[in-house]
Symmetry: C2
Subunit: 224 residues, 2 copies
Amino acid sequence: MNIRLIRTYLVDLYKLGAGSRYIKSPTNELAMFFGVSQQSASRIINELYDLEYIDKKYIDRTLWIRITEKGLQEVEEYIKYINDAYEHPGEFVFEGYVVSGLGEGAYYMSRRGYVLQFEKYLGFTPYPGTLNIKLRDSYYISQNRLLRRLSGYHIKGFRTKERVFGDVRAFKARINDKIEGAVIYAERSIYGFEMMEVIAPVYLRGELSLSDGDMVRVVVYLNK
Amino acid sequence: MNIRLIRTYLVDLYKLGAGSRYIKSPTNELAMFFGVSQQSASRIINELYDLEYIDKKYIDRTLWIRITEKGLQEVEEYIKYINDAYEHPGEFVFEGYVVSGLGEGAYYMSRRGYVLQFEKYLGFTPYPGTLNIKLRDSYYISQNRLLRRLSGYHIKGFRTKERVFGDVRAFKARINDKIEGAVIYAERSIYGFEMMEVIAPVYLRGELSLSDGDMVRVVVYLNK
DNA sequence: ATTACTAGGGAGCGAGTAT
DNA sequence: TATACTCGCTCCCTAGTAA
């Protein structure tokens, strides 16, 4: 079954109280609650059971169900996403810790081929260096994976005599609710989705008094 | 398209910022965000457009979309439901105003055929009379429609020489976070879904100092 | 480069009905 | 009375590709 449908049915079962105990759930009643036929309710329950999102048992041939741990995780993640959508439309909020990079950010950020485009698209001249952030938990990591697939500003790569500089994509962002900068994704990044690279017109570690391990909040604008 | 799917796609578009302005939405990017193919994203967008949940326009052959007023209502109602599920699992919360009934509640509540069953299933002897509540808005009304379809406690009807008393269904409930009573649904109710009838072991108007027009909060337990 | 049509397959649905 | 199987129909999905 489609994961989108699974989530909505699990929320309905959660609403009925199946998140904390077994509840009596005759399929014809579930059917009314779901807005489907009795047969579909039966099928849905059995599919959720096969996928281990719910447990079920029968008392006098009547169905009792309870959401499993796996199901609860799915519900809670979904509810978190919905709330986040409501509270932060058009933005992705990230939290993570400052870590030291390999120091090569300064070199890249100061290449004239990039700088001119950053100025054009982002409206500022980046401080020569990037702030590396290790995201706090899996929710932010999966959000980062998603963000990275969106297009944002397209900074074109170029080549010099010595080597090739790949494409970079950028999204404007606000760091610690204070400084306007950007998140950048190098086309061939050495980092996985648990890391973010942030640039700004100023030296962020200095301006925000940041040291390795400090928590940082980055709000990425999707349409700015 | 299935209303459950519609809602999830609308939430995604809302998250992308389409709730407050037109956003650039190339179908291949939407596809990645939705987790479907480019072709499906295109189809989904056009179906949402046909159903008037979104507006769309093209700039240089690229799609820009915005959620319509109708779409926003759908999203907001859905988010409200999800939050409610999270905050009140196993309960339906209602708010409404005290209104005067036709006074026939006292007569019904004191029929021995009903009283014995109320005692058995609900654990209290109802005060002879019902508190009539007119629900505050459409959200509560649709929730009441849903609740009424669930089974709850089944109080069987009976007949006397004079007339027939129909079946009644009941759910335990807490009134104004203070008194434990029940919501009852007469099989052949004269009221629509905008009304609730509440009973309790005590005289609610007296115990809670209620007059016509006062706001009342009823928390219905689904599994109690 | 971007949208969206077409065709084929599979998922999801309700009615009828066996158990 | 309850669950859930079968069947036929529709809806939904993707790949290929036209515009």
